[in-house]
Amino acid sequence: MPAEAPAARQLKFNEALHEALDLALAADERVYLLGLGVPDPKGIFGTTSGLVDRFGSHRVLDMPTAENGMTGIAIGSALVGMRPVMVHQRIDFATLAIEQIVNQAAKWRYAFGGEHSVPIVIRLIVGRGWGQGPQHSQSLQSWFAHIPGLKVVMPVTPYDAKGLMLAAIEDDDPVIFIEHRWLHQLHGVVPEGHYVTPIGPVRRLREGADVTIAATSYMAVEALRAADVLARGGVEADVLAVTTLRPLDASGIIDSVRSTGRLVVADTSWRSSGFGAELVARVSEEAHGALRAAPRRLGTVETPVPTTPALAQFSYPRVPDLVRAVAEVVETDAEPLLALLDPPPHHLDVPDSTFTGPF
């Protein structure tokens, strides 16, 4: 991680992505952006706003609603030297494009003995809240993380949003870049100009000696909130964001567990056969001896996410759930820790009160 600028500039996550895309388009004429709404006035939650004016509609492109075909088209263009950055406003829409992503993009290089690589970035956005409901809220990272030939990243901080986007675009392999809708508005320090966050290592967001919390995407934000409370209660959490899911470099987690002896994993998707299982399994295989308590896994409740906030509020693990899980693995009473919590916001279906729907 390069040293931060002295007068640390703050950007939102979506602004950081915008800056990365802007830099990449300016630096490399092979880069182009593709997706439903990319050049439209809303600009993919602000991440592509105005880029069409700067780079033209041949490089900042809308497309037909034809996810599978358009993915193939992006792949084909990559075979002849382009570097497409494609986006789907919900991961759920990309279920139409699985054939091209998983059979073609992921395997092209291998199947053809290394003749061609497929340098494509596919941005997939995870929806949450405000009645996204069953078909606009999935978080299918475990699927992509299962497939050799794909790289899968899920940035947490604005810093990494920019750094990993630049790394993904410069990478010669297909990179699945998963963004959580609730991260887009969060602030963080983002240096100006070009830098990359290497695809690979986990990112330590907070240091602590008592318990390892390994989390993906928005759950890392919740983990930081939980860690604050835990610290006030005397429990120091080592908060690790797993920002590269494939190829997974678990060494950071394993090292942490070797020192804390305790593990809580928090993922943005369902537990069963989810990415959290991989983290628990890796630690269990490689650091069984170091684990002083059974590890715990948090994820969304094992149902489709309902639309009504009255139920959806229970779908997602929150700070209290993390606190409880940590209490369990550090073998302490959860109640005093939970007593330290601020009262929850009235509405749990929005990231913050500035969010007033509809999307």
Partner: protein, 327 residues
């Protein structure tokens, strides 16, 4: 195509149904800022004629399927208004018990078998419902509503081909409102693409009409339904129309600049509700003095539905776990 044969009563009903949809949608728009309907809404204001004209041609036990923009389809097919409103408010009394919201609507009792927000996905499901019907002795007609954007999905062609292959009683209703979100047809389809011709080339009969003229819609639908019911197979009808409000949400969005004020104004003068009202008044099928009470009646019905929705309880927490599986 046979001559228009809509009785005064039928015409008045169609007018009423369109007005009702309009007023429901406007009420939603008014109430949305209260932030109690906490789900995305895709209003169909400006497109009421398609839903009403097609559903008028269907029997009550015929089937219909919709998409993300299906308030009108649901209501025109006879879906319960109270349960609809309650669904938007996320209540236990909603048509999906709150789990679906605006983007998942269903009322099996009137043959409205479902609307879902993945573009194009009800196309094959509707064809499948029609196909399932061929196994029994009582095949019904199935209508499926979708936007012109949905015709870009490959599954559109797949659905056409199978419907034609099995000669199924399906009416494909393509509402061409020129936009997919903020994207004009020009950036999505080649200028010479012709959706009815795509249907025909794939083996499905097709026609095209003015989607803002409810009688024209009705006529096309009636013929398509008759063909389907008579064993003549599927038909696609393309209905040209226009969405007035923003793609998703309660407001106008002409300030965004993705469409011109002229275009918008032109379509607004072609308001399906107002133009039909004028025609009916002209014909004497409707009397001016009946209008106020008609509106009042509908507003009262909407008041009641909103009250029902607001007063209904939210689902109990353990409902979260219900209905993932049947058993």
């Amino acid at each position: 195509m046979t001559a228009i044969a809509v009785s005064a009563v039928e015409a008045k009903t169609m007018y009423r149904d369109m007005l009702r949809i309009r007023l429901v949608e406007e009420r939603i728009a008014d109430l949305y800022s209260e932030q109690e309907m906490r789900c995305p809404v895709h209003l169909c204001i400006g497109q009421e004629a398609t839903a009403v004209g097609v559903c008028a041609a269907l029997e009550p036990n015929d089937y219909a399927f919709g998409s993300h923009r299906s308030h009108g389809h649901y209501l025109a097919k006879g879906g319960d208004l109270g349960r609809f409103m309650a669904e938007l408010y996320g209540k236990a009394t909603g048509c999906c018990r709150g789990k679906g919201g605006s983007m998942h609507l269903i009322d099996v009792s009137v043959g409205f078998l479902g609307a879902v927000p993945i573009v194009g996905s009800t196309l094959p499901i509707a064809v499948g419902a029609a196909f399932g019907g061929t196994f029994t002795n009582a095949p019904r007609v199935t209508a499926v509503f979708f936007g012109e954007g949905a015709t870009e999905e490959g599954v559109f062609q797949e659905s056409l081909v199978f419907a034609a292959l099995k000669n199924l009683p399906v009416v494909f209703v393509c509402e061409n409102n020129l936009y997919s979100v903020y994207s004009s047809l020009a950036v999505r389809q080649p200028p010479d693409r012709d959706i009815p011709a795509v249907a025909v080339a794939n083996g499905v009969a097709a026609a095209r009409g003015d989607g803002n003229d409810v009688e024209a819609v009705y006529e096309l639908a009636r013929d398509a339904v008759a063909t389907a019911r008579g064993g003549g197979g599927p038909t696609l009808i393309q209905l040209d129309t226009y969405r007035w409000r923003e793609h998703c949400g309660p407001f106008y969005d002409n300030d965004l600049g993705y469409r011109t004020p002229e275009e918008f104004e032109e379509w607004r003068t072609r308001c399906p509700v107002e133009t039909f009202k004028a025609r009916l008044l002209d014909r004497g099928d409707l009397q001016v003095d009946a209008l106020t009470s008609l509106t009042a009646e509908i507003e009262a019905e909407i008041d009641k539905a909103v009250r029902f929705a607001k007063e209904s309880p939210f689902p109990e927490p353990d409902e979260l776990y219900a209905d993932v599986y049947a058993g």
